[in-house]
Symmetry: C3
């Protein structure tokens, strides 16, 4: 039955591709609820576990944090207080390009905070580039770069790779 086997093998490959897209979307969708309930260091450490052991979170003017411990501590300075007041990291839908055990995703994040009664304001509207790796079967963040969308030329240069990503589409594993 070579024909059935061939069709089955192609289906398995396409299914695995769609599963990777789904899991990467899940990873990015989990960030908001995790970070916005991180009121203390133990919970911030859970957020940091979305990164690889040697992962990097490059937050522009806020600095670049390397490794899970540094990423967890990055939330200490002001985030724990903000989370008690209410803060809401809403993600835009990611555009994702797979490349075997690696992937790149681009999306926007809008961070809302309360603005008096019955009103919220967008504090940070930023572009994100997520460089992801599959580690022991699980997608993790290798490097996340975040830049405010306030005319910052780095934000525009970072997002501009979208053209090439759209043209190439997903790449097969080598």
């Amino acid at each position: 039955m070579p024909d059935l086997t061939q069709r089955l093998t192609e289906l398995e490959a396409e299914m695995a591709r769609q599963r990777d897209h789904l899991e990467i979307r899940q990873l990015i969708a989990s960030y908001g609820p995790m970070v916005d309930t991180a009121l203390d260091l133990p919970r911030a450490s859970r957020v940091a576990e979305l990164w690889t052991e040697d992962g990097v979170y490059d937050i522009g003017a806020v600095g670049s944090k390397s490794g899970r411990a540094e990423i967890a501590h990055a939330y200490e300075a002001r985030h724990f207080r903000q989370a008690r007041e209410g803060i809401c990291h809403v993600m835009g839908p990611p555009f994702v390009q797979l490349n075997g055990d690696h992937a790149t995703a681009l999306n926007y994040s809008c961070v809302f905070r309360p603005d008096g009664e019955n009103r919220f304001y967008a504090w940070r509207v930023a572009a994100n580039k997520w460089e992801l790796s599959r580690v022991e079967g699980r997608w993790l963040v290798k490097r996340r770069t975040n830049r405010l969308m306030n005319g910052d030329s780095e934000a525009l240069a970072m997002l501009g790779v979208v053209d090439a990503m759209v043209e190439t589409g997903d790449r097969s594993p080598d």
Copy 2:
């Protein structure tokens, strides 16, 4: 051909899992356009059909509504008027955990309203927990809990389940 049969059976299970994720995303994505065009009770009743017959919509300070009729009437007090002025329920991407014929999704909702010319403001930025059930093959809302992200401790407690959801991942049907 036990090997092909086994591979096919595994593919069918994974395909069904991905279909459930897709349909739940579709359900949540339909809410905004449905509710924002609900100018009267007949259309609000269509929105309420996204819930199970005995479904609950717990809207915090606005109250908790049980059953489709009560949910439809919940929109009468102010929503019909707001919909005529323009109101926009924008959903954030959901994080979803399947558990057989049940599922839980967490996401944010941002409700925008006009704020003079060429400007809109975020009126309600809220966390949502969607408890979903498959009824006669269709995913419906069994209970939706909505809490403003203004430091409300209930919102933070509700969202905090995300850690356990991320750790467990989808569960298989029993």
Copy 3:
């Protein structure tokens, strides 16, 4: 092996359906990063290539643009300047209905712009109806209609088709 062949054929059809949903979501997710980095006509022309050759972008009061050249030029009047100041087209999750080589998607778009230091405002919150076609294997925009959510009756009428879309669900290719 008629049974295995039948199961395989059904899997292939469902897989293709889910792939179409994924690719349409990717197309819509690519729009924000592409348009917000379009500082000049060559890059605006790349954005316009998301449309079919004879595609239409109907932007309400801004006018209706036909064909890729007109769509690219539509960004000249004010968008290039805004993109240098920072502008951010954040998409809401689309509700999608497939119909063979055609598809319809409804979603919201929120366009944020800087509002002084550490604050952004929602300039345009709009409903979008995307009428899509598969051309040589690639999903493209045949017509996109965009209407502000400020009580505009055209926006409400356009979005109101969601009820019928939810009821019908995806249609099979003829």
